[in-house]
Amino acid sequence: MSLNRRGVTLVEMLVSITLLALVGGLALQLLLRQHWTGEAQSQRAALQATMRAAITYLESELRELGGSPGDPDIVTFAAESLTYRAMRSAGIGCRLSPTALTVRSSDLYGYRAPQPGRDSLLLFRDGSPATSSDDQWLHLPLFTVSAGSCGSQAALILGTAIDTSVTPLSGFPPLAPFRTFEIMQARLYASGGDYWLGARSVSAAEIIQPLAGPFLAHGLAMRFLDSLAVPATGAERIRSVDVALLGVSASPIRSGAGMGLPQRRTDSLGTRIMLRNW
């Protein structure tokens, strides 16, 4: 056996293993803290993003609501549920007949194209141009949508039915403004042990689909206010909606100096949405 081929002694090995365990433990703790902190930040960010998304959706859907006397866009309302006419497109008709409204493609705007069976029409009727007191938005069915033309431009032909014995075509402006809408329901609902903000098209008889969440039980609270900012007594009186959200993180997270036991964190967000079309 050669003298210059020395091994490690047991003591050296024990010392090195102890040091390695010490350094490894410290490194592992550091990495775990880093992981938990990142996870906590990620969950908080997701929680806040969830609530922002819910508020953005509700703002986008509700602020365009309004109506006219006897014809409000809000159908039913409660603290955790709302049924309403969701505006889906708007435009200017270039030709009107008792059975069709023709719209140049370039004059059609909105969230999506009109869908027969699902959407309905609101068509503006001026009546006498001398007065605004007889202005009205006629509620009409949308039977068909087909391609056509208006002048030399591509157009959509929206099939409908106007009772000209009640509303003669002479009362419509030469270029007729219109909107399409569908009846939507937005509400808080329970699924998988959590609560979610969901929406469904009542017009299309859809089942509810989650939009944002999870939220706490009663994590959506809507207050419907009249022009004096007191609770409205009817849909026609609603001028603004206070929305308060109580969100909860999707999974338990550790937080605090000692990182503690993992818990589901909560956060809140609120806003007031003014209905622009009253």
Partner: protein, 372 residues
């Protein structure tokens, strides 16, 4: 002593440290990327909100600084405006005339994003209509006395005038008076010269005031918008042109616009508010707009006027006769045996000439829309 590089004596400390460092680096990078993603998401929300608010600014700016030239847009015609928003944001609005009184205002808010070719955009719209309150639900309103000893007529049936927009038939009183108003109609063949529904209406709303006859407009508010201030005797008025090519000379105080809309000219769109602070005599000519006289008004020589005439004193029409399409309000009316006046009520003419003093406003219901 072990030889360097001997496989039997190589340790594992370096790979272990490198592994730990790599793992730590990955976690830090993941945390950084997550933070950056959140930051970008928040920035996108901010840009979308800015674009939305900028589009709102475009709507409000276009409405509050409504250009009277937009009144002359033909139906279907469009005009564009643009303006700056906060920081680098900008808006672009388009106004389209949909009908006689209806406009579609579309505004697009744009927020450019540094370093990329795309930008945040939002489109909003308003439906607008004229909010011209209509005065005078009659051809003629008189407070004190009517002495119609000459020729002529007054009609409360609103008809169409060549070249002017027609807003549908109206059936208004020909003559609106107070219960105490003294009425003498010997010259024009008696009540037959008054055609309306009814021919004569005693209206308590007049309340002894010429100004009450033009409610909801107010005399002072109309006078405040006057751009013409004639006085004494005016031989003749009429449209005048200046420059090359000829354009309407709006600076001429005797140019009261061109009421012959069947043959549109440069002065067709000129509808001034004319305010005489004392008595006024007009020899003849033609014009359109709002004529306010603080004292007495004498018309003659075939004066032809489209619009609203309000006389705080006595209105007299001489031998040359006068024709007013629109409405007349006066404290007293005196048509001498040799005189003549014809007044034809027209809601459409009134609405058109009152557009200057009036404003466009959003429709009462469902005027605002998100066009995305």
């Amino acid at each position: 002593m072990a030889r360097a590089g001997s496989p039997e004596t190589r340790g594992f400390a370096l790979p272990l440290v490198l592994g730990v460092l790599a793992l730590g680096g990955m976690l830090v990078t993941a945390s950084f990327l997550l933070g950056r993603l959140e930051s970008q998401s928040a920035e996108n929300d901010l840009r979308a909100s800015r674009a939305f608010e900028t589009a709102e600014t475009g709507l409000a700016s276009t409405l509050t600084s409504w250009d009277p030239l937009l009144d002359t847009l033909p139906i279907g015609g469009t005009a564009s405006l643009a303006g700056a928003g906060v920081a680098t944001a900008s808006w672009h609005s388009t106004i389209q005339r949909l009908g006689e009184d209806l406009f579609f205002l579309r505004s697009e808010g744009i927020v450019p994003i540094a370093g990329v070719t795309w930008q945040a955009e939002r489109q909003l719209s308003w439906l607008l209509r004229w909010a011209a309150p209509l005065p005078q639900p009659s051809a003629v309103a008189v407070i004190d006395s009517v002495s119609w000893n000459g020729a002529g007529s007054a009609s409360g049936y609103s008809g169409s005038s060549p070249g002017w927009p027609f807003c549908g038939p109206d059936s208004m009183p020909a003559l609106r008076i107070m219960a105490a108003t003294v009425v003498g109609l010997s010259g024009c063949g008696g009540p037959s010269c008054l055609r309306g529904m009814p021919p004569i209406l005693a209206d308590t709303a007049l309340a002894g005031s010429v100004s009450a006859a033009i409610a909801p407009l107010t005399y002072a508010a109309l006078a405040a918008r006057a751009t013409r201030a004639p006085g004494g005797i005016v031989a003749s008025v009429g449209p005048t042109l200046a420059g090359v090519p000829p354009a309407c000379d709006a600076s001429d105080p005797l140019n009261w616009g061109e009421p012959d809309h069947a043959s549109p000219g440069p002065c067709t769109g000129l509808m001034p508010v004319i305010h005489a602070s004392g008595d006024l005599t007009i020899g003849g000519g033609r014009g359109q707009g709002v004529l306010l006289v603080d004292g007495d008004l004498i018309l003659g020589g075939g004066f032809d006027f489209f619009g609203l005439v309000v006389v705080q004193g006595r209105l007299t029409s001489g031998a040359g006769g006068a024709h007013i399409t629109g409405a007349v309000a006066a404290r007293s009316l005196n048509i001498p045996p040799a005189g003549r006046i014809d007044v034809d009520y027209s809601a459409c003419v009134l609405r058109n000439v009152l557009r200057g003093p009036s404003q466009v406003t959003p429709l009462l219901y469902r005027s605002w829309a998100q066009l995305y």
